[in-house]
């Protein structure tokens, strides 16, 4: 624009126009905490993968044993050690699910077996497909139960400790410190030695020390909330306790709680498997993923599928929970909100 043109600007343009701009423009619609978290979780590919795998594996664990006409404990030695055979997929050679053993001998044809065992059968002729999903069911049951009970105890203990503070808090935290000092594994082993291995004793053993982590988190959040300026601010403004708890406390405490629980589950799945390895796991004929992997090692050289399939399932399960936990942690942390 030249000087001349500048002079020729219409005088109309120089009329006052204050207030024409919209001052309180809000860039985007405000979202509720949960909606916002969900939007962020959805963008995280790993977390969505984790979520889907967890759902699929859980569904299979619940329904696959029901849907099969075989069960996990009936032995039939004439059907023992059949390699996996899955129709359609049997044509994909590298998967080795064509019913042939490692020397390329078609066992199904030789024994004249019509039925397809998708994951093969174990040394006692039990359908491995049913056993794997039954095992997943047990592993999940133990892990989820342990995580939920940890959650309950942790919330109550941590809540009381954080809410009252002072001397109560001090004593309660000393107790936790000593408990944390005891290696978890040692307690678990001693406990199960006394109360024979079984689903409930394994869950209980995990809880004995497991709850302390949750309690510390809840307490920490409680204390932080009590200090926080926005809580003081709403108190000063006369907000009722119920409003404080509902609007401020819950959204701020729930995030860390959900995330911690998400990470407790894979930890518990691992611990259960670990117990199977040291001979303190689920007793046969029951199966868990850990006991199946442990049994699989006996046939490493001859029937590797008995090791490989449950190994993949347990890894996939732990991986999915971890990915989902990571995603939730990122999604639920309002400080990351941009």
């Amino acid at each position: 624009m030249e000087q001349k043109q500048l002079d020729q600007l219409s005088t109309d343009l120089f009329r006052p126009a204050a207030g024409r701009g919209d001052l309180e423009q809000i860039g985007r619609p405000s979202l509720s905490y949960w909606k916002d978290a969900w939007l962020r979780l959805r963008k995280n590919k790993g977390a969505i993968f984790g979520l889907i795998v967890v759902i699929v594996l859980t569904a299979l664990a619940i329904f696959a044993p029901m849907a099969s006409k075989n069960d996990y404990h009936t032995q039939n030695l004439s059907l023992s050690k059949l390699p996996p055979k899955i129709p359609v997929l049997e044509k994909v050679s590298f998967l080795h699910v064509d019913g042939k053993d490692k020397d390329g001998f078609d066992v199904y044809k030789a024994k004249n077996i019509k039925e397809n065992y998708w994951f093969g059968t174990d040394d006692l002729g039990r359908d491995q497909w049913v056993r794997v999903w039954q095992g997943t069911r047990i592993s999940l049951l133990i892990a989820v139960a342990a995580a939920l009970i940890d959650l309950g105890i942790g919330i109550i203990y941590g809540g009381v400790s954080g809410f009252y503070g002072g001397k109560v808090d001090n004593i309660m935290m000393r107790i936790i410190e000593i408990l944390i000092g005891i290696p978890q594994l040692i307690l678990v082993i001693l406990f199960i030695l006394i109360f024979k291995p079984g689903v409930s004793s394994i869950i209980l053993a995990m809880i004995i020390t497991g709850w302390t982590g949750m309690a510390r988190i809840v307490r920490g959040q409680m204390l932080k909330m009590k200090e926080q300026e926005f809580v003081m601010a709403s108190k000063t403004l006369g907000a009722a306790n119920s409003r404080l708890i509902g609007k401020h406390l819950i959204p701020n405490i729930l995030g860390p709680i959900i995330v911690t629980t998400m990470f407790t589950v894979p930890g518990a799945i691992f611990t259960e498997a670990f117990l199977s390895f040291i001979g303190l796991g689920i007793a046969p004929p029951q199966a868990s993923l850990g006991s199946l992997v442990n049994d699989g090692f006996r046939f490493l050289q001859t029937y590797p599928y008995l090791l490989i399939i449950p190994s993949i399932i347990i890894s996939l399960l732990i991986l999915s929970f971890n990915l989902l936990g990571d995603g939730l942690r990122d999604a639920l942390d309002p400080k990351m909100r941009k």
């Binding site: 343009l13 009329r15 006052p16 001052l23």
Partner: protein, 356 residues
């Protein structure tokens, strides 16, 4: 006077997932030898980004100097390689940051942090560097430097730490010192001490200072000239007197009117500037300040104003200086203090260097 640094049409952008944020949009200024230029503006006005761009300290990605020149010593800093730039940083141009609590390395002794630059830029031996570090600590007023030199940052108070940061910055006698809000994080009494120290040292080593701040009170104390930034642009620039006693831009009026001072009469109301800074991802059409200004004209929403010149040293970027613009009455606080500037032109001219 000799120009030390000249910035021409500087643009700095950040590439984010949401789009390109144009944090600095065409900034022009120069810095003369031995003078102090204050850059004033609210958070998000681009003042800090400008100062970091001069040092080429904008993290890339996401940030980049999109356009423009930074002329220093006959060289364009915007085009230097990282290696060449490292030779200038700390030696010719030094910087002081806002928060002394976090700007020193917590696991390194104070002495080593001062000596580092000396060893790098002046090829001093360890022992001479240590001598010089002691001298610097004494210079910035740290008692018992022999003891302090072997201590860690957490053993220093905030004000003492900022003194150390000043010592680090001045270690190689830089030609330009950029101080990015150096007193914001400090107590008022400490603030005054640090400002006094900077002024003192400026006289001793003849450095030019770019002083970034949002605090106009500080500006009056230290600056020779003032640049007011808004929405990534300089909207008004002039000597301290011109900015304080004869401001022309409505945003500067707003800043001055919102600042209390001892001679503000009790009746005068402190005025806040309504609204929030512009969204620099989609800067508004026309004058970025118009939506918040009670002096906005129709044209502000259509065309970006050019830079007008009121005197040799005084520039303002507002349509109110156009001859067709209606005469407006600035806020009371501004009018009360207004003085006539003898060096003003008869009427505002269009600044030549600005091409629309």
């Amino acid at each position: 006077m000799e120009k030390v640094l000249e910035v021409k049409d500087l643009h700095v952008s950040f590439d984010t997932y949401g789009g390109v944020v144009k944090a600095v949009r065409g900034v022009n200024f120069d810095l003369k030898k031995g003078e102090t230029l204050a850059i004033v503006g609210e958070s998000g006005s681009g003042k800090s980004v400008t100062s970091k761009a001069l040092m080429r300290l904008i993290p890339n990605p996401p940030g980049r100097i999109a356009k423009g020149e930074i002329l220093f010593d006959g060289r364009d800093l915007a085009k230097l390689s990282e290696k060449e730039m490292q030779k200038i940083r700390g030696k010719d141009i030094a910087m002081i940051f806002q928060d002394p609590m976090t700007s020193l390395n917590p696991t390194m002794k104070i002495g080593s942090q001062i000596m580092e630059g000396l060893i790098k830029h002046q090829n001093l031996s360890k022992s001479t560097a240590k001598e010089r570090a002691l001298e610097l600590l004494r210079l910035v007023g740290i008692p018992q430097p022999e003891v302090r030199i072997n201590q860690y940052p957490h053993q220093f108070s905030g004000g003492m730490r900022q003194r150390v940061v000043v010592a680090v910055a001045l270690s190689c006698n830089p030609k330009v010192l950029i101080a990015d809000e150096p007193t914001t994080a400090l107590d008022v009494t400490i603030q005054a001490q640090i400002l006094e120290l900077m002024k003192d040292l400026q006289n001793k080593i003849d450095t030019s200072i770019i002083f970034i701040t949002h605090d106009l009170g500080v500006v009056a104390n230290v600056a020779d000239r003032v640049a007011v930034m808004y929405g990534g642009q300089i909207v008004e620039m002039g000597t301290v007197d011109e900015i304080f006693y004869d401001p022309r831009h409505p945003y500067t009026w707003g800043l001055l009117a919102s600042m209390p001072s001892l001679d503000t009469s009790v009746q005068t109301e402190l005025a806040a500037i309504p609204g929030t800074p512009p969204d620099l991802m989609n800067p508004p059409k026309g004058d970025a300040f118009a939506p918040r200004s009670s002096y906005a004209l129709e044209i502000d929403f259509e065309h970006e104003p050019p830079m007008f010149q009121i005197s040799d040293t005084h520039f303002a970027k507002t349509w109110l200086l156009h001859e067709n613009a209606p005469a407006v009455e600035p806020p009371k606080a501004v009018v009360e203090k207004r003085r006539t500037m003898p060096s003003n032109f008869a009427k505002p001219r269009l600044a030549e260097e600005v091409v629309l």
